[in-house]
Amino acid sequence: MSDIRLRKVRKRFGANEVIKGIDLDIEEGEFVVLVGPSGCGKSTLLNLVSGLETLSTGDIFIGKRKVNDVAPKDRDIAMVFQSYALYPTKSVEDNITFGMVTRHVPKEAREKALAEVSELLHIETLLTRKPGQLSGGQRQRVAMGRALVRNPDVFLFDEPLSNLDAKLRVEMRTEIKKLHQRLGKTVIYVTHDQIEAMSLASRIAVMDNGTIRQFAPPEAIYEEPVDLFVASFIGSPSMNLFKVRVVEKSGLRLEVTDEEGTIQFPVPVALAGSARAYLDRELYLGLRPETIGREGTQRPGRATFGFERMIDVVEPTGPDTLLVFTLGGIEAIARVHPEDKAPVDTRYRFEVNMDGAKLFDPETGKRLHPTVLKI
């Protein structure tokens, strides 16, 4: 039974340190998504777990076993690669059973496993074809099948959906989630797509430049990002970040000035304690697009604040419409109901739900924590 523990894991390629000391505890049956920008070391970290790369320092445990010096084939893992990595000269059937053949699994057992997996993935009719004769989605299924027949304790996925078109990606995402719910195996899943991360993960590890910035459930990553990096990486369109000045004008205010005038956002009540320390200094105010709407559309009972800006661009997405405006020199985005849209170059009254606002220290990038109000 397999939980996975990483202890002070480092990886250098020559002088270039790619993984800079990572500790991670993944519980058995968890679906952990590693997300981060391209080149931040996600694949390298996954390959350290799979044994396709050797550790520079640190330890990796799968279950009770320390696997630092265990070959990939003996780690009881199965992997799905980004480019599918199917064997191009082998038929689908041989692709799926190759691992069992090298392990000398008896023929009957091989055929049984093949039948089960191909039924599960609906690829029974493709078994005699070569990978070159399959569509992207079918190849993806075969790659999954090759991993599933191993019946391993741990599944490792390296951007398995990134070569699929948008519709197929959503479908396969759902299927992967279903498979996980059904099999209950530990999964580590690498992606640079934060929507995939949000929708699949039981916990997300946000990586940046060889370190893990935050490891938490998706809601926590979204609502309580530890710093500016996580806040701006997760969410699409990403969080609007305004540089504001903390001033005292009938209570603490967050002031931002541009050609169209000065706006003074109120400080969210819970953050007042932390924000006071920044009086007359600057902070970053983070507002997610969906917390900005048309005046009068916020749910009752929220601390709201209204302001006016010109609309620069209108981008309908279907369910929502994005209104782009400029505030404090920043291009900001509001996500409004399509009925609330207005023409470009008109003044628009926005309303912010300040309960969803986040504040960040501009130097450290850390998010300010709410303090319990002392009355």
């Binding site: 390959n47 084939k73 690669f81 064997y87 191009p88 392990r103």
Partner: protein
Amino acid sequence: MRERQVHGIVRPKNAASTALRLILFAVLGLFVLYYLMPLIVMVVTALKPLEEIRTGTLLSLPRDITFEPTLRAWNSACVGVRCEGLKPYVWNSIAMVIPAVVLSTMLGAINGYALTKWRFRGAAIIFGLMLFGAFIPFQVVLLPMARTLGAMGLAGTVPGLVLVHTVYGLAFTTLFFRNFFISVSDGIVQAAKVDGAGFFGIFFRIVLPMSPPAIVVTVIWQFTQIWNDFLFGIAFTVGDSNPVTVALNNLVASSTGVKEYNVDMSAAIIAAIPTLIVYVFAGKYFIRGLSAGAVKG
């Protein structure tokens, strides 16, 4: 039905461009003639009786075609003191070229695979040195190679020549295969590692079956290089173990009295035929292999 359907880029149709195309074809035609001329002279001369060669011109076609000189060149012309034609030497060349091509291609494939898919410390340096080997002129290796063959007891033998060609060819075959394997996704090899296959398991069961384009290029290249080689042949073999290229030289040099141009030309054609056949039958795979970069997975 359209009158003329040409696939490809749309070209303007006017007098100037037509004239340009005519000039282009004329120039290309000249080149073709220039390259074909020696072959024509060879074939024409080989089929003429001596009498006709003496009286006619170089290019005049044979009036009565004779295969007698060709047969002589094959099995009775004198090479040095041995008058059995080129036949025994063609067998020498075949006995040399087949093992040398197979060995150097196999080793090149393993080298290329190891260098690209099992990156090890110093792989780049080793590849650099191997590449350097591709630029070493034949002459430079003659003496050290002669010493080595002597020490191994292979001096003056066909197996010795096989060894020389295998070693010398390694630089090229490694280069060909490395460049091919570099375009093969690492993921395929990683997947096979996770699937439990080892170094040779992956090589023989996954990588080699993907390699026909590279194999074809390498085999053709090595075959023509080794078959056509003269310098190593003359340096490392003696008399009876000469490859056909050396024997051809000796045959032409050892004719006494009247120079039998028709026999000489026939002998030259015999020596050239295997490479010609290879190009005619495998040339298109050669081109295809050279341009086969990415392997679709």
